[in-house]
């Protein structure tokens, strides 16, 4: 996709988007509501027309091609199975349109249903299977036509958390097994980071960063990416040379070209470590625990440093000895830090 733009009246949904999908890879488009990720997917599917730009697949320009001829498989956010057809008929629908003989299309449909683990539900209707099963059937239906590209528009958002996690991993397994190029749209960071080969973080119709999940998380290219992906502490610091000094601690910079002077350092909660103290300490990294949020395997501890608050994320086993009011001494792991040069250096711990 090159230079794609799309307007809805005065609203700019896509602003010159450039995105290339490599064969067989899964790209997750991540971003807040209204950032243009679903619009990107719909333009690729042909369900909407771009105002300008070009879409090519396998070297073929499909920009003005109708959706029915684009050879894309799509799974929608809303349950999209045809209610009047059985599971098998749903999966075979695309093959029927391509005039595949009945015996052959039933065979292929059953094969695909077996791939998604639902061959025993072939005779059932959509209302007789669960939401997770419906989305798996929708995936099978999209794969049955052997599309060039698989498009997934937040397929898990209507499901509960446990089913979502299971289906997410299944989708990835199937995608790897089939080797199909896939574009996955989601607003859920965990989904994107868990299954994508590359994650594209979007904002206001543009790509802020397109990189591997590890890179997007540990080396965010912009403050927006740093704050949208994962939680972020915003702390004032001062850049000097290749380091930034944050509350008395020198940390390496991600961007070595940052000019010297006051900045806001963006620090991940898991980069902050805590050590309990018997009494209130002094110094810029001494504080008092305000709250502890239990998240299962990890816990998030919010600490009052006097002039600001900071979040730390640590294994729950390490947080059991802490409670509201505990005195702690903090340190920041010396990972490369992204900074933003802001006019206003009022800070608060924040995150997506």
């Amino acid at each position: 996709m090159e230079g794609l733009t799309r307007h809805y009246g005065p609203v700019v949904a896509l602003d010159g988007l450039d995105l290339t999908l490599r064969p067989g890879e899964l790209i997750a488009l991540l971003g807040p509501s209204g950032c243009g990720k679903t619009t990107t997917l719909r333009l690729l599917a042909g369900l909407e027309d771009a105002d300008s730009g070009q879409i090519t697949v396998g070297g073929r320009d499909i920009t003005r091609m109708p959706a029915s001829k684009r050879d894309m498989g799509m799974v929608f956010q809303a349950y999209s199975l045809f209610p009047h057809m059985t599971v098998l008929q749903n999966v075979a629908f695309g093959l029927r349109l391509r005039r595949v003989a009945k015996a052959e299309r039933d065979r292929r449909a059953l094969e695909i249903l077996d791939l998604v683990g639902l061959s025993e539900q072939a005779g059932r209707y959509a209302h007789q299977i669960s939401g997770g099963q419906q989305q798996r059937v929708a995936l099978a239906r999209a794969l049955a036509i052997e599309p060039q590209v698989l498009l997934l528009d937040e397929p898990l958002s209507a499901l509960d958390a446990k089913v979502r996690a299971q289906l997410r991993d299944q989708i990835r397994r199937i995608q790897l097994e089939v080797g199909i190029t896939t574009l996955f749209v989601t607003h859920d960071q965990e989904e994107a980071l868990a299954i994508a080969d590359r994650v594209g973080v979007m904002r206001d119709g543009k790509l802020e960063q397109l990189a591997s999940p590890t890179e997007v998380y540990t080396r965010p290219a912009t403050p927006f990416v740093a704050e949208f992906v994962g939680l972020t502490n915003r702390l004032p610091g001062t850049v000097s040379g290749s380091t930034v000094t944050v509350r008395g601690q020198d940390l390496p910079l991600v961007d070595l070209g940052t000019p010297a002077g006051p900045v806001t350092a963006l620090i991940r909660p898991e980069a902050v470590t805590l050590a309990p103290e018997s009494s209130a300490g002094s110094g810029p990294l001494a504080g008092t625990v305000i709250a502890i949020t239990f998240l299962g395997a990890t816990s998030r501890v919010t600490v009052n440093l006097g002039d600001t608050t900071i979040m730390a994320q640590l294994p729950t086993s390490d947080a059991t000895e802490l409670s509201a009011g505990s005195y702690v001494a903090l340190s920041i792991r010396p990972d490369p830090v992204l900074v933003s040069v802001a006019a206003n250096n009022s800070v608060a711990a924040s995150g997506a």
Binding site: G46, L47, S68, Y79, F82, H84, R141, A142
Partner: protein, 283 residues
């Protein structure tokens, strides 16, 4: 109810509320009221119909029973023909209404939503126009049609207009019950063209609405009198029954034919509801 202790330690008593016994009593009274109202209205509607059926089975002496009026339906001059014409009209009207409305409404929902309000207005307009006023407009057209000696089947043009509001509402409800946009996009992404989307994906999921529309259109045609009479088509069922009543007041065949038409409509309703339930059970 147990006291709830707030975070601050103060004890908060649950507020007094109705005891379960009071709620059950209230529910019983409400149900009794519903049954009484339902029964009274039911009697109000059913009693005249039962009286009509009873009168159609009345023998030559008061209090006796006879099926003679029912037997006359087949033999009374012109009546069977009128039944046939009216049934044909019902069928043709229903079919034309569905062929016109179903693809149009789906198309508007999918592609040109901005005219949906105008379309709704046009479909509902016949509700606001009295049959007499319609006839004034239609008379000039039908006078020309009569020159060609075409049968009363030509009334279907007028009946389609009359049936539009009812069919529109039934079909609109059906469209609202399904996610038309998602289903059509799913079908298109699989390679379906617009014709396939409408005929093989959307319309099959509107079966109940289509059946309701069929029923409403048929019932309207079966009971329609004014337009047929004023346009001088004397061989439809209601006009024929009226003619019989003018010539032979209290003829039993009037009541037996009317009862038969009513029973037929009820049976149609039952059959269509049963078919709709079967399809709902499948998917």
């Amino acid at each position: 109810m147990a006291a709830i202790t707030s975070v601050g330690g103060t004890s908060l008593e649950a507020p007094a509320h109705r005891q379960p016994g009071m709620q059950a009593g209230r529910r019983r009274r409400l149900n009794a009221f519903r049954y009484v109202v339902f029964t009274l209205f039911g009697l109000f509607i059913i009693a005249p119909l039962l009286a009509m059926i009873r009168f159609s089975l009345e023998g030559s002496k008061l209090g006796t029973w006879s099926a003679k009026a029912w037997q006359q339906i087949a033999s009374y001059p012109g009546l069977l023909g009128a039944v046939e014409i009216t049934l044909e009209l019902a069928l043709i009207t229903s079919a034309v209404v569905l062929v016109l409305l179903v693809p149009t409404m789906i198309w508007i929902r999918l592609r040109v939503q901005w005219i949906s309000r105008t379309f709704e207005f046009l479909c509902l307009l016949p509700l606001t126009i009295p049959a007499i006023a319609l006839v004034v407009g239609l008379a000039t057209v039908y006078n020309r049609i009569r020159h060609y000696n075409l049968s009363a089947i030509q009334l279907f043009w007028a009946y389609v207009i009359l049936a539009l509001p009812y069919a529109y509402r039934a079909l609109s409800s059906g469209l609202n019950a399904i996610d038309v946009e998602t289903l059509s996009e799913a079908a298109r992404s699989l390679g379906a063209n617009w014709f396939t989307v409408i005929v093989r994906v959307i319309a099959p999921n509107m079966w109940q609405a289509i059946l309701n529309s069929l029923l409403l259109s048929s019932a309207l045609v079966l009971g329609e009198f004014t337009i047929a009479y004023l346009l001088l088509y004397t061989n439809t069922l209601q006009v024929t029954l009226y003619s019989i009543s003018r010539n032979t007041p209290n003829a039993g065949v009037i009541f037996s034919a009317s009862s038969a038409a009513l029973i037929f409509t009820f049976l149609l309703l039952l059959i269509l509801s049963y078919v709709g339930r079967l399809r709902r059970g499948r998917g």
